[in-house]
């Protein structure tokens, strides 16, 4: 049965079965360009759900991997995916576009939520974000939540001009905050340590590395809003009873050994829970961030 599932998932991934999920079938969705890897990652969860939901009229749980956010948005819109797992900012963006609903928080590696920090050398004269104008900040890459979206959001919130620099050797703009993509969080802190950039946007983990390597050598300039580590989005078209049943199963997974095992295999997931501050409180800053980004994009950045 596992093989059968895999074959079907592959067929789905290739878009051959691009039809709405029929009754008795639950579809889990994900965005990634590595289909095989993602199917493999989701399979334990899918199998677990299939077993747990057998009494709820679910014959099978399928996995659909989409290469882009747009494809996922479309799939959600078309009702091809019932549940979608992703980072909070991306998930918020897609869910807003597709009318889907964030339902659960997904813990990963024991972390429920996180934020982004901007780090500067201890002796830097940068005291606030505005001091970054005319200086270079290192971002990770355009898809990174903590390494790009959240810190960029903070700068945009301050209405500071931001402009990308080709590389760290190039001179930054004098009238704007120059940023350079380091391609990796590790590179970001390396570059900061070498003085190639004036500030680094990283996550708390990156900052701890710096602290470890150079105790007292760097300080936190500012930190972003707190966002869930991962989120689970539910298609609004999905049968509410089924959705509720799925949520119940997911929430109870960490209570049983089989559930824990499936969680661990599902990309080191610790557990699922409900958003402590509620969906609205959790997501409205993220929506605001999305709005700022849209505006910045529209302004031709």
């Amino acid at each position: 049965m596992a093989l059968k599932s895999v074959l079907r998932v592959l067929a789905l991934a290739l878009g051959l079965l691009a039809a709405q999920a029929p009754a008795g079938e639950l579809v889990l969705g994900s965005v990634n360009d590595n289909v095989r890897k993602h199917v493999k990652r989701y399979l334990p969860l899918a199998e677990y759900l299939e077993i747990e939901l057998a009494g709820q009229g679910i014959d099978s749980v399928k996995i659909s991997v989409y290469p882009t956010s747009a494809a996922m948005t479309e799939a959600l819109t078309n009702g091809e995916v019932d549940f979608y797992f992703d980072s909070p900012v991306v998930a918020a963006k897609i869910s807003r576009q597709a009318g889907a609903i964030p339902v659960l928080r997904r813990w990963k590696r024991g972390v429920a939520s996180y934020h982004s920090v901007m780090v500067v050398p201890w002796g830097s004269d940068v005291q606030e974000l505005e001091d970054l104008v005319g200086r270079k900040i290192g971002f990770q890459d355009p898809d990174s939540t903590s390494g790009y979206l959240l810190p960029l959001g903070m700068i945009l919130r301050k209405n500071l001009p931001v402009r990308e620099i080709a590389n760290f050797k190039a001179k930054g703009p004098e009238d704007a905050v120059g940023y350079v993509f380091t391609r990796d969080d590790k590179n970001t802190i390396l570059w900061l340590s070498r003085g190639w950039i004036d500030a680094a946007a990283t996550d708390p983990k990156g900052f701890r590395k710096l602290e470890d390597a150079f105790p007292g050598g760097y300080r936190e300039l500012t930190r972003s809003i707190e966002v869930p580590r991962q989120t689970v989005i539910m298609n609004s078209r999905t049968d509410p009873a089924l959705a509720a049943a799925v949520c119940d199963v997911l929430l109870a997974m960490d209570q049983s050994p089989q559930g824990e095992e499936a969680l661990n295999k599902f990309h080191k997931t610790t557990k699922f829970d409900r958003f402590p501050e509620g969906v609205e409180a959790t997501f409205s800053p993220i929506y605001q961030l999305l709005d700022d980004l849209d505006r910045w994009s529209a302004s031709g950045s």
């Binding site: 760290f168 990796d184 590179n187 390597a213």
Partner: protein, 710 residues
């Protein structure tokens, strides 16, 4: 394994493992082992060098690759990308860890061991520091790990240091393989070497072992061998010396044997040879169920040859006698063994033919097959007919031969020789110049006689002899005229023995003078005791033999005793037998004359049974004739006997001799004696012989009787 091959192998092994062979094997083995070890060490060193160089190349290659790939990223500060690259590099089987320390000594690509904990931390790696300082590759080779630090430079700009922890396990396994291969090869080489050394040692020691065995054989008496060694070295010279030594040894032994076993004078085997070989000959003959004879030869009267012509003539005679014996042996178709002519000691053994040997003096033996024995003996007796020509002198000699046969006459060599000797004496007794085969019965008698002679000798010493006196009477009056002393032996177990039971043996053993002395002393003692007690003259007669008369010392003692007894002349009468009287000898006559001069009467005893020469009798000037009892046996009944007695009495009258008739037992005999005027008689009619100590009493009684009658 084939048994022969196994034997050859074990022989070789034995040879190679014995003494010098073993030592040579050890030396060669040790040399080969040392050489192989040296070669292996050199080989191993070379191969290990190759392994090290190959691994060095590998390390350098890894460093090069890592440098090429990582340097651009390092320059760009792409630690994450470097992580990915280095993760791949770490997958290389011999890479334990690989990481980068930047120019500030900070870990850019952290070591796998530490994970990303070390990221951006000071590396504190002395090797890397040194590489950074020197701008040269630095190494630290440890058994389990090889650490290399390579400065990452472009031109003179240092961007950091590449640190590689290399696992030299491949080198270690290569080293193990190299050692294993070489050790295996070495073991094979050593084994082959040992086998070869064993072969070589065998080649070298083989001749020595042959020499050793030859020496052992020589020690066991095998001198008839020659060892052949062709090694063209000291061993060949040793073998040659050994052969020379064997020749010398054979010669020496030959000489020793000649001295030991060959009679120097005659050249024939001697007594030593005979005593050694006769046993062996007997054993071999027993085994073959054959018989052989031993001839015991003795030259008759050889002593007189030495006495009359000197020992050099006697020796020469012995040499000629030996030659004649050998010739006799060859004339019956046998080869006589001659010691000294044979090449080696083994030939000193009797080989089935005849052998002439000298026992010593004039005694020789011949060993001959029994079948040819009589022919040989007769041949020898015949050959002795011709004279021996010794330079100016020609001698006639005879030999007496005793023969004893094996196993008929004796079951062993010792008895055989003894019996041949006995037989030789039988031949001597048979009149010499003849031969006698061993006669067991005769020998037994001889032995008894010998035993008796020994007893007699002992009896003389223990004074077991006594004298009996038999009275002699006047025929006319019946009065006692004297007595004849007769010897008796008071034998401790057999009782009183008469003279005829021991005197012949005593005569044969030359003991008569010993007994005679006793008789003389006891007779004189009796006379000395009796005569003073009676008032009439009496004659005491004693018998003397030729042997006694011929014994100068005996006669001297007799004369001295008679003279010392101071008796009236005519009191002592010496009786000699008719045969003694007829013995032709001036010496006897002279002794008799001396006895007469001291007043001793001479009586011819047992007259009438011998071969008397009347002329000679007359010359002896005897006083009494004692008629043998055989002459008187029939007197009174036979006229002829009476006439003969009458004639003898008449003859005695002419010779002016008294006559004593012996063995008178009847009145008739006595009356005849009266009729013909025989003066004296002796016999049971008058009295039997009585112990000397009773004679005086008897005599006195007799005399009283006659006085009463008178």
């Amino acid at each position: 394994m084939n048994r022969h091959v196994y034997k050859a192998f074990s022989d070789r092994a034995r040879m190679a493992t014995s003494g010098l062979g073993r030592r040579l094997s050890y030396v060669f083995g040790a040399l080969i082992t040392a050489i192989v070890a040296a070669v292996i060490l050199i080989n191993v060193q070379t191969q290990l060098q190759l392994v090290r160089e190959r691994l060095e190349l590998r390390v350098l290659h890894l460093l090069e690759i890592a440098t090429e790939v990582s340097l651009p990223y390092l320059i760009e500060g792409r630690a994450a990308e470097l992580d990915v690259i280095f993760e791949e590099l770490r997958k290389q089987p011999d890479v334990i860890d690989i990481f980068i320390i930047d120019q500030d000594g900070i870990m850019v690509v952290e070591s796998e061991e530490q994970g990303d904990v070390d990221f951006l931390k000071p590396a504190n790696d002395p090797l890397a520091n040194k590489a950074a300082e020197t701008s040269e590759i630095q190494r630290l080779d440890l058994p389990e790990i090889r650490k290399v630090a390579k400065p990452l430079m472009i031109g003179s700009v240092n961007y950091g240091t590449l640190r590689l922890d290399f696992d030299p396990h491949e080198e270690r396994s290569e080293i193990v393989k190299v050692w294993s291969r070489n050790a295996l090869g070495g073991v094979l080489f050593v084994l082959v070497g040992l086998f070869t050394s064993n072969l070589v040692a065998t080649r070298l020691v083989g001749p020595l072992n042959r020499l050793t065995r030859a020496t052992e054989r020589a020690a066991n008496g095998d001198l008839d061998q020659t060892i052949c060694v062709r090694t063209n070295d000291e061993i060949e010279r040793l073998a040659s010396s050994f052969n020379t030594m064997l020749v010398a040894l054979r010669r020496s032994i030959q000489e020793i044997h000649e001295i030991a076993y060959r009679d120097k004078l005659t050249g024939v085997p001697n007594r030593t040879w005979l005593s050694l070989q006769l046993d062996q000959i007997a054993i071999e003959a027993s085994a073959k169920k054959e018989s052989f004879s031993v001839l015991f030869l003795d030259l008759d009267d050889f002593k007189s040859v030495n006495d009359n012509h000197g020992h050099h003539v006697g020796d020469r005679l012995l040499v000629l006698f030996a030659e004649r014996l050998r010739r006799c042996v060859s004339e019956i178709g046998l080869a006589a063994l001659k010691v000294g002519s044979d090449r080696n000691a083994a030939k000193y053994r009797f080989d089935g033919d005849a052998v002439v040997a000298r026992l010593g003096g004039d005694e020789f033996t011949i060993i001959v097959p029994t079948l040819l024995c009589r022919e040989l003996v007769e041949g020898i007796i015949e050959a002795m007919q011709s004279e021996f020509v010794l330079e100016e002198l020609s001698l006639r000699a005879t030999t007496s031969i005793g023969v004893a046969n094996f196993p008929e006459h004796a079951p062993n060599s010792e008895l055989l020789l003894k019996h041949a000797d006995v037989a030789m004496y039988q031949a001597k007794r048979a009149g010499r110049n003849t031969f006698a085969f061993y006669d067991g019965d005769q020998h037994k008698l001889s032995i008894e006689r010998l035993e008796l002679a020994a007893e007699i000798r002992s009896a003389v010493e223990q004074d077991q002899f006594s004298i009996f006196l038999q009275p002699q009477f006047f025929v006319a009056t019946g009065q006692v005229s004297g007595a004849e002393a007769l010897v008796r032996w008071n034998h401790p177990t057999r009782g009183l023995l008469r003279p005829d039971m021991f005197l012949p043996v005593a005569a044969g053993a030359g003991l008569l003078p010993e007994i005679g002395r006793l008789v003389v002393r006891k007779t004189l003692a009796s006379a000395f005791e009796i005569l003073p007690r009676v008032d009439v003259p009496l004659t005491f007669a004693m018998n003397l033999s030729v042997d006694e008369l011929a014994d100068e010392a005996f006669v001297e003692e007799l004369l001295w005793q008679i003279d010392g007894a101071n008796l009236l002349p005519g009191t002592i009468e010496i009786e000699i037998t008719e045969n003694t009287a007829m013995t032709d000898g001036a010496a006897i006559e002279r002794q008799l004359e001396r006895l007469r001069q001291v007043g001793t009467r001479l009586a011819i005893d047992d007259f009438g049974v011998g071969y008397s020469n009347l002329g000679r009798l007359k010359g002896l000037a005897f006083d009494t004739l004692k008629l043998d009892r055989s002459l008187l046996q029939d007197v009174g009944e036979d006229e002829e006997a009476e006439n003969l007695m009458a004639t003898i009495l008449a003859m005695a009258q002419v010779m002016k001799a008294d006559v004593v008739a012996e063995g008178i037992e009847t009145r008739t005999q006595l009356s005849v004696l009266e009729k013909y005027h025989c003066r004296y008689y002796q016999g049971y009619l008058g009295a039997r012989p009585m112990p000397a100590e009773r004679f005086a009493t008897w005599l006195l009684a007799n005399m009283r009787h006659h006085e009463r009658q008178a």
